[in-house]
């Protein structure tokens, strides 16, 4: 049997500083330092490459569990009658389709900064038999500067997208603006796992996931970025504070799978 230090070397080191945004227009792309303009382009490239194999990789990496997370996330939403929903970073439509199934009357604007992802989503919408495509509209847009009017939407959803944004706080601010008073915010995102499980989670993330990316999608780099970006994002309480700072009430979160991901919710105050 190997000795302890060798085991630790085997499961590799993950730098875990969790600050996400610094001054001087410098930010991070995973563990690499880049300028903010570079980050947006790099993220775009990651998802343009990833689009076609996205769904396959999600299933492979999470062994199908991401479906359960999304089911639970949408199932726990309180969707008003005839609701107007904005699903940001909605790309291939996973959340949008669930929203349509969960509410017979809601209309969903699916928005994503990346057109190839939206194209995949549109294709999937046409082949899913129980989705009425006229309840969906597909808009290519930047979450930090949304082309939507103030006080328009009843519900803002964003699933596994906000950690890729250069300024998550700006996204929350925009979400506040476009929501109607009384409107709800619900964000599903990777978060910080329970510390007892961190070694196994890190080992899996850094040793298995990039290799899966190379084998299934010929793209190790995009999945290396994925696991690094998770560690750079604020933890559960840090993110809650950002949401509170932007004016939301009743801010709370719920951990899924021991904190691998979390659902953060908030409500825009009625005047």
């Amino acid at each position: 049997m190997r000795r302890a230090p060798q085991i630790l070397r085997l499961i590799s080191s993950a730098r875990t500083s969790r600050t996400y945004s610094t001054a001087q227009n410098k930010t991070h792309f995973g563990f690499t330092d880049v300028t903010e303009q570079e980050k947006e382009q790099k993220v775009h490239d990651v998802f343009a490459n990833v689009a076609k194999k996205y769904d396959l990789m999600n299933d492979a990496m999470s062994m199908g569990v991401h479906r359960l997370w999304k089911d639970y996330y949408v199932g726990g939403l309180n969707i008003p009658y005839n609701a107007k929903i904005l699903d940001m970073a909605g790309g291939t439509g996973d959340i949008a389709f669930r929203l349509c199934r969960h509410s017979a009357t809601a209309k969903v604007t699916v928005s994503d900064i990346n057109q190839p992802m939206l194209d995949v989503g549109k294709e999937r919408a046409n082949s899913e038999k129980d989705i009425q495509v006229n309840r969906l509209e597909w808009i290519c847009a930047n979450a930090e500067e949304m082309p939507f009017a103030d006080n328009t939407y009843d519900l803002f959803t964003m699933s596994f997208g906000i950690r890729n944004c250069t300024h998550p706080d700006k996204v929350i601010q925009e979400a506040f603006r476009i929501l109607k008073p009384g409107g709800q915010l619900a964000i599903l995102e990777f978060s910080q796992v329970n510390s007892a499980l961190k070694p196994i989670y890190d080992a899996y993330s850094f040793n298995v996931i990039p290799v899966l990316g190379e084998i299934l999608a010929s793209d190790r780099a995009s999945y290396q970025y994925l696991v690094e970006s998770i560690r750079k994002f604020p933890d559960q309480d840090g993110f809650s504070q950002i949401i509170r700072d932007k004016g939301f009430d009743n801010v709370r979160y719920e951990n899924l799978t021991f904190g691998v991901c979390a659902i953060h919710k908030g409500v825009k105050p009625r005047k």
Binding site: R9, S12, N207, V208, P210, V211, L212, I215, S218, R220
Partner: protein, 226 residues
């Protein structure tokens, strides 16, 4: 995990290497057209003792030692396609130009080496990858499945790389019955004898012999054509 030693270097942790070896092997067997997976499998299974053995054998050969010192590359930069095409019909250079033209490819089209963590071994692996085409030409084996398997057996015997050994075995398993028979009855007995008697191909400076006839090169390498 080590730091990057060269441009295309992707250092992997030991666990990642094992997983990559198994996964790329599975991917390559399922879809042999995935050149990146064949290359990855070759690199992750070429463990240090094997590459070190190859390096030592190169070093104990006069020409091989020069190769290790100068580290010449076969790339779009170092290969002049026009010059090669202008050479007489039966020369190595002319045959190489025709080889590349028929396959509509170029020396740079091979994947770069990524997973080797030692600069000396990096050159050995790179040299293997860049001279594989010459091995095809010297043995006069086409790049169809039968020819590839024949060449893999040659490389397996001369070099001992795990990728060549398993490529030979699994590649042979995928052959159609009549090709398999040809392999077993004709190609294999022949190529095994060639591999044992021929000069060590990795220590040969192919690029200095483009103007020689294939026949004279085969004599120099001690290859008797099929």
């Amino acid at each position: 995990m080590s730091t990057k030693l060269y441009n295309t270097h992707v250092p992997l942790t030991p666990i990642s290497k094992v997983l990559m070896g198994i996964g790329s092997a599975a991917a390559a067997i399922t879809d042999p057209r995935r050149g990146d997976m064949v290359a990855a499998m070759g690199e992750t299974t070429a463990i240090s003792p094997i590459l070190e053995n190859l390096r030592k054998r190169m070093e104990s050969d006069v020409t091989g030692r020069k190769l290790l010192q100068n580290k010449p590359r076969i790339s779009n930069e170092t290969i002049n396609r026009e010059y090669l095409s202008s050479l007489p019909e039966n020369t190595l250079g002319k045959k190489y130009a025709q080889f590349l033209d028929t396959l509509k490819t170029s020396p740079d089209a091979r994947p770069a080496v990524k997973y080797i963590d030692n600069l000396e071994h990096l050159y050995v692996m790179q040299r293997y990858r860049e001279t594989h085409d010459f091995t095809h030409i010297a043995l006069e084996q086409k790049t169809n499945m039968l020819g590839e398997v024949t060449v893999k057996y040659f490389e397996a015997i001369q070099f001992g790389l795990p990728m060549c050994i398993s490529g030979g075995i699994f590649g042979a398993a995928r052959l159609l019955t009549k090709n398999r028979r040809e392999l077993l009855e004709i190609n294999l007995p022949w190529v095994i004898e060639q591999a044992q008697n021929a000069r060590f191909f990795l220590a040969f400076d192919w690029e200095n012999h483009f103007d020689k006839s294939l026949e004279s090169i085969q004599k120099e390498l001690n290859i008797k054509p099929l």
